[in-house]
Symmetry: C2
Subunit: 238 residues, 2 copies
């Protein structure tokens, strides 16, 4: 699938009238303590599911004591997810490991058997841990679901990524619409970029200095251009 | 996957405490007129979904003026569905065509992109029309859903089959638990067997003659043995 074609679809969801739920996942959120009852389902074949007695994985087992880059997406076998989002992380797995990241985690509102079939087709199981959120409880808990019935999907996850240390969110990036792929890819998911981008967002949204911490940029004419320039500079030196 | 292993799992769902919803799909149900607002989603790739503007297919387009054998199952990439249910129909497609069946239809509470990926993996797309019921509205309308959260699936279809002429159900077979594969396979889905089995069920459940129509068997000692004997005899001559 050509990326140009995908770009032409970027406003697909917004044209369909979808609106994103108010995101409650933010810097500082503790994924483990704020949702102790939530568990995900490691991707596996049906036979493995039966053998495991349909076991689930609590969030503490995924995040506690680890440095994790996690990304969520609307669904297995959909366009941007298959052609860009997963490949973006798969092809950068060595860079993440070199930076001390313990695991790359992909979550979606799919059952673990579907997710396993898709991960195998993408040949991404060795690089990424895939977890199903079959009832959407994880994404609902953190305000990350949206109604994608217009695309024949139902209630799913929006497209997002986060950098998480010992369960605590250090950076989070959520696409405005899930057909876009601007901020949730691997390039902006490393700790440095993630934290920088989150700080920039905070500064841009407040149109002034943030209440705490030192502002990254004290003045600029075109905010977006300035952000992109800074990111490009940092990207070269990182 | 060995069939012996599958058989050992046949009480899996019942052991998990699932109960089947009361089925309202029965002989005489008109699928078209009783659910005019319901549409299914033909299995397709995401790109085809976008090209089709996420079109759906009303039930009249699937059933009206046609002889259709339709079967439903708990989900793509699950055990019995992949190893037995779909293969059963796929391998008998020529027999169905020879008997004047216009189409074989498989439905599941999955989105059409997942269903397409699974159908391609099973190499069954040429033989069977796959339709998603992404929000479960079709199966809910006919009392065919059940909670399979214990198997990490959520609300899904039970396992069933029906023979439908011009939208009207002529025979229907629903498994007691979806992990079983006793009555919903291709062998019992032809018009003759389907109608016979439905009549037998009616007679056995009433423990007497049905209120209308001629009973198939007027007396027998062991009901189940007698049914199986009759079916075996008819199977040879059909």
């Amino acid at each position: 699938m050509a990326f140009a074609t995908l770009k032409n679809r970027s406003s697909l969801y917004s044209r369909l009238g979808f609106s994103r739920a108010l995101a409650s996942l933010s810097i500082g959120t503790d994924l483990v303590s704020s949702a102790p009852e939530i568990a995900l389902q490691r991707a596996r074949t049906w036979d493995e599911g039966v053998s495991s007695k349909f076991s689930t994985t609590p969030l503490k087992d995924i995040f506690k004591g680890k440095k994790v880059v996690v990304f969520g997406l609307p669904g297995a076998y959909t366009g941007v997810c298959s052609a860009q989002h997963v490949p973006s992380y798969k092809s950068n797995v060595d860079k993440f490991k070199a930076k001390g990241i313990d695991s790359l985690v992909c979550v979606a509102v799919n059952d673990p058997y579907v997710l396993n079939g898709w991960a195998e087709k993408l040949q991404a199981k060795d690089a990424i841990e895939f977890y199903g959120d079959f009832d959407g409880s994880f994404h609902k808990s953190f305000g990350l679901t949206m109604d994608l019935s217009g695309a024949l999907l139902g209630e799913r996850s929006t497209r997002w990524s986060a950098y998480v240390e010992d369960g605590k969110v250090k950076a989070v990036n959520i696409e405005k619409v899930p057909s876009e792929f601007k901020v949730s890819g691997a390039e902006l998911a490393t700790p440095m970029y993630g934290q920088l981008l989150s700080r920039l967002k905070m500064e841009l949204s407040s149109q002034a200095r943030p209440k705490s911490g030192t502002p990254i940029f004290s003045s600029f004419t075109c905010s977006l251009c300035h952000v992109l320039t800074q990111l490009a500079t940092l990207y070269d030196s990182c």
